[in-house]
Each structure stands twice: as structure tokens, then as C-alpha cells.
Amino acid sequence: MAEEKVKLEAVDYSATMTAPTRIQTLEADVKIEAKYKNEPEFTVVSDTAMAKGAVKSEAGQWEKVPEGKELEERRVTITPKNIAWYKSRTSVKSIKAGPGDYMGEPGEKFPLEGKEKRTLNVRKAALQDSIDAKKNKFAASAKEA
């Protein structure tokens, strides 16, 4: 399994962006970090300024994993930079390795916009989950106080 993962990662990351995205006017710094097995900290593997529509790569390929290392977690941080107050809306996505977890495949886009098709039912389920989560968080913070 580990071998297969390494094989999947053994492709060059392409920063060429062509596909339009939902934040077409945004320019951002995109930092990609990886956490390798038996290493406590994340390692920055790519920190690139990207132009419009830059949140998805053309090929969606990830960086090569160094030989002898196994990827545990990948973190993608998008920091908008061309419009001042967008900077406070930095987006961070973390993808963990593990049985059944998504780690990216050659040719696949970054899952930054979500992989699931957003039907009304999907949104409705997300809404209900979030209402419950917000109520629970509020109840928990009230107990602490």
C-alpha cells in the first residue's frame, strides 16, 4: 500500500492554471505542506504565488514524496493577496492519510471546492448538521462559563 502511495505521488506538480474557478479574480499565495511519517512537523514543499483561477492546477498533481518517506498528511493554505481585505479569509485545507482517506491522484483537482455535488439535499443536510453543531458549541461554551 505504501509503495502504491509513493507511486501515486511520484509526479511533478504543475502550477499552470487554466480552468476557471469560482474565485476567478483572486490572486493568492498557495502553500503546500506535507507531514511525513515519524516527523513531528510539517515540511513546506511548495509555496507559490498563483494568478487568477489559481486554486486548481491544470493537472491537479501533487509534489513528489522524497524517497524513503511516507506521506501522512497534506495541508494546502491559500492566502489571497490582490485584494487587501480578502487576506483575512485565508483558506486552509488539510488532507489526512489513512484507510479510505483521499490523498489525491494524478489528474485529479485539488478538492478545495468540495468533491460532493451540491444538490439541495446535500446543502440541507449540511445546514441541519451545522445547526446542531452550533447549538452544541454554544451549550459547551455556556457550561465552561
Partner: protein, 202 residues
Amino acid sequence: MARTGLKSSKVLKEFAIKKRTQLWQYLNTSVDFFLRSVGLRSTKEILPGATSSAAANLELVENETFVLGGVAYKKYVFHSWMVLSGANVYVQDMGLINVSQGFMLITDQSTNIVADDTAGVGGFTNGAIANSGTLLEDSGLSTTIPATVAYVNQDNTLTGQDDNYMYLIVGQTGGVPSVDCEAYVKIEFVVEQAANVEFIQF
């Protein structure tokens, strides 16, 4: 010549009335169209969602745009009216605003919270929504109590950065059985000029 049964003067008079009515209707429609198109007249229909969303309305504010840093923005106004009753914590959904491009930036938030205080100072309190500064009716007793938390929540972390779930969050955790209020939410927000905005209610 066929006879109409009407005298010629009467025919002329009716013709004049009809023309005058048509002219009046034409002018009235034109003026109405003009006033609506420049944003000076509007009729907002505030409708609830099919299952859970509070009654709400979203409209583009015509003829009002902003340009900042070379980026053009257009403005929308969002209204939602509701009665919250029978619980001490509310996370009331007001629908979802999908913005196809860029972010939904709220530039104004002027929600009014009304609470029954007829057994207290008398009448009803009207105040801005301001967390613990918000007055709510205490347990149906017609007296008021400050909220623990009360604010408008915009959450775009659920199904995509472009899906802005709108909530009104009101709560009181001081041990009272319930709090009640009416809420009149008004929010103005801007989006990039080229963005498509879709309002989805649940």
C-alpha cells in the same frame, strides 16, 4: 349607416374618457417602471422556505455600485423577519446565498430585535442585535432579560466558499426556561460585479 343606439356626442365623450384612461394607465405604468428601475419604489415579498428557513427576501439594489482597488462591486439587500419563541437557544436558518465569484462582503447589518416588556417598564423594547446587549422576553413573562449571545452568522465553511449559510443566533443560558423575541433582519452586502447571486431557502 348602421345605428349604434348612441348619440354622436355621447360616443365622442366615451372615446375621450377611454383615451384619457389609457393615457393615465400608460403614464402610471411608465412612472412605476421608472421608479422601480431606479430603486425608488419596491414591493418586497418576504416568504418563508418550504421547511426550515425563516421568511426572507433578497434583492439587488439597482444603480448602486462601488469600485475599490480596480474591482467593481454591486450591492444586495437581504431582509428576514421571524418570531422566535419557546426555546432558550435559537440557531435559525435564513437561507443560503450562493455567490459564484469572489466573496459575499457584508457592509451593513441593522437588525432590530423586539421583546415584550409590557409587564416591566411597559410596551416593547426595540434594540439592535448586539450579543449580551440584546434584550429578550424572559420565559413568556412579558419582562425582559439580556441575551447571552445574539448575532447574525454568515457561514461559508459548510459546502463551499461560495455557499453562504445565513443564521440568526440568539441564546440565553442563565437558567431561564425560554426566551422570546421578534427579529427584523436587514443586511446589505456587496459582491463582485460579475458574480451571479442565487438565494436558496430550505
